[in-house]
């Protein structure tokens, strides 16, 4: 090749690159339009994000509302401003002042002011109001909320609390309109879904679909990119998987995660998706009713704690995707979690289980020489029924004969809340915030919103409170280690940590800028997601 030919070739290549590069670059640029499709695992029924706790409710309304803060859609590990554009903290760490965005409007055109923030949080923090998510997190920490003026709100804390901002940024602590709360009394109805979020509530067909449409007056210009979001209500793993395989949904990012067998099936059916394994910051718990026989007897509770084979549960029910035994998962909580080497030596967690089974049998025989028959309750969602059958098989070895009773999802939660059960074979609890305090204040403390077993241990309350209030990181870590060790050494708690749940998820390759949150609730607003052609 002569020099002239080489130069011509180079020029041609350069021209080609110049033509192609903008097109390639254009693929990565946000593109408005399109409707994202995904699914809700059950029918929410009630839509009050302040009062409810099932994920289906939060998913149904996530894009409608904004909070004072949220987790950054571009980096979900970081807290970012939302309705509050900035905030300051007093030197003693007990007063947080939030400066609200101006010019924000509710979906019905009414102006957003600090009165809406005060009305929302006065409702959530009202001791008479049951708020199992936002309220359960904030009530131990917050003393009062004041509207200083139309665009400034102050939160006064009872003590300097490290989890306060992460809790406030939680997807459950959304701001509702004062005039809507006054008009409807609650947020249960579709008509009450008036928010300031990137999407407006368009439609709710019970048992079928929930639709959002783009909010053209969203306070961040240019967002959202999507024209809308459609959530199909798909109950049951086979239905959800069939929808995924058929291309009816563009992502699977929430509970329940896919199992390995489902992920493999999807991979065979579709090559246009990205499949990945992840934690969903969710703990698999077994509950014993400490208020009635046989589990008002600590020996019987101890027997179940010893007999439940957490490793088998993870291997079979979660197909290996989970961290057994840990009350805090080191992958999520870092060094706040006890080392797994220590946890796995504790009675109930150690393998092989022969010694634990033998001791558990003796405990049961001491009080029920012929064994005991109990009802084992479970909500018929996800693969809970399979987990329950495993639990029944495990308990049978120690003389506890379980009869399975299944509940429809919402009916099950109602039963748990009323204490209308003997043993709940499985109930996942997703963390609202990625903070070590979460699991204890949800499931172990006396006032815990999901302390369904109603066991009260003043020492657990005291240790959890101390750890919550500790601002020094090392001392906080020591406090949480002491709390975990105390619970594990007690061995007769009514809440039994079986495993932290992991699973498989997928996103359509056309989906851009979707980043899963650190909890299963965060980053479901899709405000910065777009669909490439």
């Amino acid at each position: 090749m002569t020099i002239a030919q080489a130069l011509r070739t180079l020029a041609g290549l350069a021209l080609l690159a110049a033509l192609v590069a903008p097109a390639a670059h254009a693929q990565d640029k946000p593109r408005p339009g399109g409707v994202l499709t995904w699914f809700d695992y059950g029918d929410p029924g009630r839509l009050d994000v302040h009062a409810e706790s099932p994920l289906v409710v939060q998913q149904a309304t996530a894009g409608i509302y904004s909070g004072l803060l949220h987790y950054d859609p571009d980096d979900p590990s970081k807290i970012a401003p939302d309705l509050a554009e900035r905030w300051t903290v007093s030197p003693d760490g007990k007063t947080y002042t939030f400066y609200l965005r101006k010019g924000v409007k509710w979906h019905d055109g009414q102006p957003f002011t600090s009165a809406d923030v005060k009305a929302s949080f006065d409702r959530i923090l009202n001791p008479e109001f049951q708020s199992p998510k936002c309220g359960a997190s904030l009530k131990p920490m917050v003393a009062a909320v004041e509207a200083v003026d139309a665009s400034i709100v102050q939160f006064r804390l009872k003590f300097p609390a490290a989890p306060f901002l992460p809790s406030l940024a939680s997807a459950w602590c959304r701001v509702a309109a004062k005039h809507i709360l006054a008009k409807y009394g609650d947020l249960n109805q579709p008509e009450a879904q008036i928010g300031t979020g990137p999407f407006k509530f368009k439609k709710y067909e019970r048992g079928s679909v929930i639709e959002w449409e783009k909010n053209p007056n969203y306070f961040i210009p240019g967002l959202p990119y999507l024209d809308g979001v459609k959530q199909f209500i798909l109950v049951g793993g086979p239905t959800q998987l069939a929808a995924a395989k058929a291309g009816k949904v563009m992502l699977w990012d929430a509970w329940p995660p896919m199992r390995k067998t489902q992920a493999d099936e999807l991979a065979r059916a579709r090559q246009d998706v990205d499949i990945f394994q992840a934690s969903i910051n969710t703990i698999f718990l077994v509950y014993l009713n400490a208020q009635k026989a046989p589990f008002n007897n600590p020996d019987m509770r101890r027997a179940v704690n010893l007999a439940i084979d957490r490793q088998e549960m993870v291997a079979k029910a979660l197909e290996g995707a989970g961290v057994p035994c840990a009350i805090l998962d080191p992958k999520l909580s870092g060094d706040f979690a006890l080392p797994l080497e220590e946890v796995n030596k504790v009675p109930g967690c150690r393998q092989p289980k022969d010694a634990d089974i033998a001791e558990a049998k003796k405990l049961v025989e001491k009080h029920y020489p012929g064994g005991v028959d109990i009802e084992v309750a479970v909500r018929a969602v996800g693969n809970y029924v399979d987990r329950a059958q495993l639990a029944i098989a495990q308990l049978r070895k120690i003389g506890i004969r379980g009869t399975l009773k299944t509940h429809e999802s919402a009916a099950g939660y109602a039963a748990w809340g009323k204490g209308d059960f003997t043993l709940i074979a499985t109930q996942d609890r997703a963390m609202d915030v990625n903070d070590p305090s979460g699991v204890f204040h949800i499931a172990y403390t006396t006032e815990g919103g999901s302390n369904y077993g109603r066991m009260s241990d003043p020492k657990i309350d005291e240790l959890a409170e101390r750890a919550l209030k500790e601002s020094n990181k090392d001392k906080r870590r020591q406090a949480y280690w002491e709390l975990q060790r105390y619970i594990l050494s007690r061995g007769d708690t009514a809440t039994i940590a079986v495993a932290w749940v992991e699973g498989w998820f997928f996103t359509d390759k056309r989906l851009r800028n979707y980043k899963p949150g650190l909890t299963t609730y965060d980053n479901n607003t899709f405000m910065k997601v777009w669909i490439s052609p």
Binding site: T261, K316, N383, D386, A393, K405
Partner: protein, 278 residues
């Protein structure tokens, strides 16, 4: 023996059905000895394919599918026989007695039968299970409610013919009491139809139980119900097709055998084929 071999020659399909039914009964009775493991024992690896150790593989929680299919025969037969015995017997007595009493008693009871039979059976069964709760015994109760009106209607029509017969009139003429006539003459002459109803409805009861369990409204999921096993198998259709294959075959074979046997019983006992009542 001669009579048996004559029947087999006359009803070869019925004989085949009878063999299947006998096998089903044998499996059900001998389940504790035939099954290699308990029906709820979950100590094995999940989704194992059929092998020498697990001829029908294992399911999603690590239970031996063959053991559950064998124990499922016991559950199916228990549900089928008990529900049919109670339902058909109650319905037959109801139909026979009201047919004899006639008048308002007969008219009124037939309107009740009409009302119940107007409801689609599976919807009625679902409603009953929702009210009663999931358990094997509640499935039996639901089936009894379904079977009773059908039996009442069928036996009533047979009983009306018997009531009109000359020997019934003769019994009344000699002063036999109403209940003596019902017990000594009416009911025995409805027995053939009763037996046919029993044999032909056991398969129906098994299918209804399997259907209810399949949609999650029948026996609790941990019970070795063939229908319930199909539900679990659907979740792993690609991964573990044996979870559906073997319980499905079991249901098909049981229903096939019972139908053949029941049809044969009907043919043998039908008076039109035998030359009339004796």
């Amino acid at each position: 023996m001669r009579e048996v071999s004559r029947l087999v020659r006359r009803q070869p399909l019925g004989a085949a059905g009878g063999i299947i039914v006998l096998a089903l009964v044998a499996v059900a009775v001998l389940a504790p000895r035939l099954a290699w493991h308990g029906p709820k024992e979950a100590g094995f690896a999940p989704y194992l394919p059929p092998s020498a150790e697990f001829p029908m593989g294992t399911d999603q929680v690590g239970r031996d599918v063959m053991s559950r299919v064998i124990w499922g025969a016991r559950l199916s037969l228990y549900v089928g026989l008990v529900s049919v015995l109670f339902g058909i017997t109650a319905g037959s007595l109801w139909g026979a007695v009201t047919a004899y009493l006639g008048g308002a008693a007969d008219t009124g009871s037939q309107r009740v039968v009409d009302a119940v039979m107007a409801l689609p059976p599976i919807i009625l069964a679902l409603a009953l299970m929702a009210a009663l709760g999931q358990s094997v015994n509640n499935v039996i109760i639901a089936l009894v409610v379904l079977l009773t009106p059908t039996a009442a209607r069928t036996i009533r029509s047979v009983a009306l013919g018997v009531v009109a017969s000359p020997y019934m009139e003769a019994a009344r003429a000699v002063g036999a009491s109403r209940w003596r006539i019902i017990c000594r003459h009416l009911i025995p002459n409805c027995l053939a139809a009763y037996i046919v109803l029993i044999t032909t409805n056991v398969s129906y009861a098994i299918v209804v139980e399997a259907s209810l369990s399949f949609i999650g409204a029948g026996a609790p999921p941990d019970e070795p119900s063939w229908g319930g096993m199909l539900t679990a198998g659907i979740q792993a259709l690609e991964t573990a097709p044996w979870m559906i294959l073997f319980p499905g075959l079991a249901i098909s074979l049981a229903v096939f055998g019972l139908n053949l046997f029941g049809d044969s019983i009907r043919d043998v006992t039908d008076p039109r084929l035998r030359g009339g009542l004796g």
